[in-house]
């Protein structure tokens, strides 16, 4: 079930092929109830209390000497006067701080494989077609990948796994919990959103299908220019509209593998599926806005390095941004990109000030560039603590469609919590304990 969770919720072909079986559902319900009854006696064992000097529920409040009561994976109570029930596990840290588990709204964890030589390679770049909205990241992610462990250790409890940016319209992303209690990640939502790209990544990222003599060309990769990229995207959407509206006639060579791809695109047009566009430079961001005006879809802007140069349009069109990673020198594959966007370290602060809705992401970066460090440096460069916390908890929760369950320390929310050793996002602070779904998945061993 865990391996193929999408099959449990719907058929491969979406609504038409939905194979909802009432009998099966009854069984599931029955077994579910049975197991609930059986485990009823063990409820108290699942009780956990986290105590800390400060609790930030995520709504701007601070609870001094607060505690969070967790039962059966859910937050039951948050406040200053919570006593520990008998038999409950308690983790207390008077100098600590409790926040909701961090959410990375644009991670690539578990998607790179390491070869025996140590070289890391992409496993999720679809090179055959430029428009592949029917492919799924959840089919390729390695849930046992150590990167998930590292994310959890850094306090990141949920991650949106974004599709690679080398396709014009790429795969569907997935939402995962970074640690399900047994050193492996768990898929929360097998498909969420479709990731498209308006940047040179489409023709410069990855080199497995580039000719050995250098620059990509039509024989190896299409498109090779921004014009070609926009054409491909337009063509895909026009084909989708034609299919939707039953228009017949010569439409030229399709840019997609099958009609199912077009149906997916039609869902974007209908607003049923989130559309995420990665763009770095100002003109690419404007291009994305122009396309959204043209086809009438909403989108989430990803990466958005030059967002500071188009704050007004992002605010006016209410385009949510998944910003990041922050850098002075481009990191990782970005070094090879001809986009070379201008860097403004104050971008997160300025987006907050301008009222642009945004989340921060570390994308493919780890270690000292991981999400808590991104938030820390966003603060160093002017973002307030409340905004920084929001941009790694409730804002990404909303972007990944989980705002009723994740991103806050509030009664009824899932117990994804981090107990920090001190003020969160400070360079001297580490995640002392990480709780996912009510289970303590990481406790720091202090080596003093």
């Amino acid at each position: 079930m865990i391996e193929f969770p999408h099959r449990t919720t719907r058929g491969i072909n979406g609504k038409k092929g939905r194979c909802f079986d009432m009998n099966k559902a009854r069984w599931i319900l029955f077994v579910g109830l049975l197991s609930f009854v059986v485990s009823g006696a063990a409820v108290s064992e699942e009780t956990l209390v986290l105590r800390a000097g400060r609790v930030y529920p995520g709504d701007g409040r601070v609870i001094q000497d607060g505690a969070v009561l967790v039962q059966d994976g859910k937050i039951v109570a948050v406040g200053a006067d919570i006593s520990t029930p008998a038999g409950a596990t308690e983790i207390s840290r008077p100098d600590g701080v409790i926040t909701a588990g961090l959410i990375d709204a644009g991670s690539t964890a578990g998607l790179m494989r390491e070869m025996a030589s140590g070289r890391r390679i992409d496993t999720w770049v679809e090179g055959v077609r430029e428009v592949v909205p029917n492919t799924r990241i959840s089919d390729v992610v390695d849930l046992l990948h150590p990167e998930f462990k590292e994310l959890a250790r850094n306090g990141v409890t949920t991650a949106y796994l974004t599709a690679d940016t080398s396709s014009v319209i790429g795969a569907q992303g997935a939402v995962v919990k970074t640690n399900a209690g047994s050193e492996r990640a768990e898929i929360l939502k097998a498909t969420h959103g479709i990731v498209a790209t308006i940047s040179a990544d489409t023709f410069m990222r990855g080199n497995f299908n580039n000719p050995p003599w250098g620059t990509p060309m039509t024989y190896s990769r299409r498109p090779t220019t921004r014009m070609g990229l926009i054409w491909t995207m337009r063509k895909a959407f026009y084909d989708a509209m034609a299919l939707r509206d039953g228009v017949e006639g010569p439409l030229g060579n399709p840019v997609v593998e099958s009609d199912d791809d077009l149906r997916k695109l039609a869902k974007i047009l209908a607003g049923d599926v989130q559309f995420r566009i990665q763009a770095k430079t100002r003109d690419d961001i404007y291009r994305a806005v122009r396309l959204s005006d043209e086809f009438g879809f909403d989108f989430v802007l990803a990466e958005a390095t030059e967002a500071f140069r188009c704050l007004d349009v992002l605010k006016e069109k209410e385009i949510p941004v998944v910003f990041g990673p922050i850098f002075v020198n481009p990191l990782g594959y970005r070094q090879r990109s001809p986009d070379n966007p201008r860097v403004c370290l104050e971008t997160p602060a300025r987006m907050a000030k301008a009222g642009v809705f945004f989340a921060l992401t570390a994308n493919d970066l780890t270690g000292e560039n991981s999400l808590p460090r991104q938030a820390g440096f966003a603060m160093r460069y002017g973002l307030s603590f409340d905004d920084a916390l929001r941009s790694v908890t409730s804002a990404p929760a909303r972007i990944i469609g989980q705002s009723k369950k994740l991103g806050r320390v509030e009664t009824g929310y899932e117990a994804d919590l981090v107990l920090w050793s001190g003020t969160p996002f400070q360079p001297v602070t580490f995640a002392s304990a990480v709780v996912i779904g009510g289970k303590v998945v990481h406790e720091a061993v202090e080596s003093k």
Partner: protein, 490 residues
């Protein structure tokens, strides 16, 4: 356009540097008062004063009488901290590695570019002393030197020359360890051969002067002539090596892996520079920590502080935070910044903060960016802490040095303010994303006439943005719980 705007500040530094080197007529006194003084070598002083006279610290403490003629700098609410020290870097060297594998006759001074952006960046991040070294791709490299990041020439920048000869135990590119070791042995064998021949010829010279005939064999002649050799007789190629074996200078020996450590220590023992050995340790070298401890010498750790190794049997990735290993054993270490590719690792304070995050003592972490690197450079009497007699190198920080929100407000080198954050144009550019050309354009034609520094407030672009943003209503989030896209498919 760009140059025109940056010119004045460079000129300013230049002037400052000239003032520094100019003979001073009267005693110049500066008192930094009211701040939380972290002297590193002792207890923190709340509301303390640092009194500097003629560039040297005169007094540090709470109840210090401030002379009437002292220039008072108010640091209340701020933190006063010694200038940080980056003790092993190739900053400012256009090409840090010489092609010839053995080049002890070189001096990095000839290659240091005083206008390198790196030095400006160093000031901005609170580094007041840098140990400039030849790169690691050598057998025997150039002579290192300690510089301050101000001055128009390498000479002006120099705090101390000849801080050590660079030696690398890790093989040069396209070489291997056998060749590397063979070349190193060759270097010192050649030195002793050269010195022997030189001594012999000196003895013969002396005999000639005394109109005597050669009375002994070559072996004895070499022995007798040894004391006749003067420093000037030794050629460039051998002079620094001879000074090294004589214990006059030290060596900075780079070890890439743990296996390089033992040969490095042996090399130092055999050639008489164990007392002045400074090991630059690659990440994996922590495995040789016991050998390193036995040398009783401070070491330098390269910027990459986490060793990652995949267990070949289990396939598990093992991570070791290297400074913890040295700290546990009690090896004094200096931290280096990692030059790029990271948000924080390029800053020494951040590297120290990482150590605290990983369980190290705060004191040890602070020492690793001040006192230990000072000792490594042989400058322990001049820099690395705030105590009387040392150079007046200090930072006025907006907060604790290990706080991620702290900024370097002022940098003082030898009693002179050489950096002020509010006048740092380039920092504003980086923060605000405006290029100098843009700023100059929007400044208009008449802007560059005056020699005054252009403050970021005067550039209209951010102002425009500020105005726009103030018109927009404040962001409303919190209350609304609606997801952007609860996928309706399900």
């Amino acid at each position: 356009m760009g140059r025109r705007c940056y010119g004045p500040s460079l000129l300013g530094w230049g002037l400052m540097a000239m003032v520094l080197t100019a003979p001073l007529q009267a005693t110049e006194r500066v008192a930094v008062t009211g701040g939380r003084v972290i002297p590193v070598n002792g207890e923190e002083i709340e509301g303390g004063t640092v009194l500097i006279e003629d560039g040297r610290i005169q007094a540090v403490g709470k109840d210090i009488v401030i002379p009437f003629d002292a220039k008072v700098i108010d640091a209340s609410g701020k933190v006063v901290f010694p200038g940080m020290i980056e003790c092993h870097t190739s900053m400012g060297l256009d090409r840090p590695n010489e092609n010839a594998s053995v080049a002890p006759y070189l001096d990095v001074a000839d290659s240091v570019d005083p206008s390198s952006v790196g030095f400006e960046e160093a000031l901005r991040s609170g580094v007041t002393t840098l140990g400039i070294s030849h790169g690691n791709n050598c057998v025997v490299g150039a002579m290192s030197r300690a510089v301050r990041p101000i001055g128009l020439t390498a000479g002006e920048m120099t705090v101390k020359s000849d801080t050590g000869l660079k030696i690398s135990m890790a093989p040069r590119s396209r070489s291997n360890r056998m060749v590397q070791m063979a070349q190193l042995r060759e270097v010192f064998r050649d030195l002793s051969e050269y010195m022997g021949v030189l001594a012999e010829s000196k003895y013969e010279e002396k005999l000639k002067e005394d109109d005597k005939k050669i009375d002994v064999g070559p072996e004895e002649a070499r022995n007798r002539g040894k004391d006749l050799v003067e420093a000037d007789d030794i050629d460039d190629k051998h002079r620094n090596l001879k000074r090294l074996t004589d214990g006059q200078i030290g060596a900075t020996v780079y070890c890439g892996q743990a296996m390089d450590v033992a040969p490095a220590i042996d090399l130092a023992k055999e050639n008489g520079f164990s007392e002045r050995l400074v090991l630059v340790l690659g990440t994996e070298c922590y495995k040789a920590v016991d050998l390193i401890l036995a040398t009783k010498r401070p070491v330098i750790l390269v910027g990459n502080l986490i060793h990652r190794e995949r267990d070949s049997f289990s396939g598990d990735m093992k991570e070791v935070f290297v400074p913890s290993v040295y700290a546990k054993k009690g090896v004094p270490f200096a931290l280096l910044s990692e030059s790029r590719n990271s948000l924080g690792e390029g800053f020494l304070w951040y590297q120290a903060a990482r150590c605290v995050r990983n369980g190290l003592d705060r004191k040890r972490a602070l020492e690793a960016i001040t006192q230990v690197p000072a000792q490594v450079l042989g400058l322990q009497d001049r820099v690395g802490s705030l105590e009387p007699g040392k150079d007046g190198n200090l930072l006025i920080l907006s907060g604790d040095p290990l706080d991620g929100m702290s900024w370097v407000e002022h940098v003082m080198i030898e009693g002179k303010i050489v950096y002020e954050r509010e006048k740092d144009i380039r920092l504003q550019e980086l923060l605000q994303g405006i290029t100098r050309d843009e700023a100059a354009e929007s400044e208009g034609e008449g802007a560059a006439d005056a020699g005054e520094e252009k403050t970021p407030e005067s550039s209209p672009e951010p102002e425009k943005e500020k105005k726009e943003s103030s018109e927009t209503p404040p962001k409303k989030e919190g209350g609304s719980n609606s997801d952007l896209d609860e996928s309706r498919e399900e």
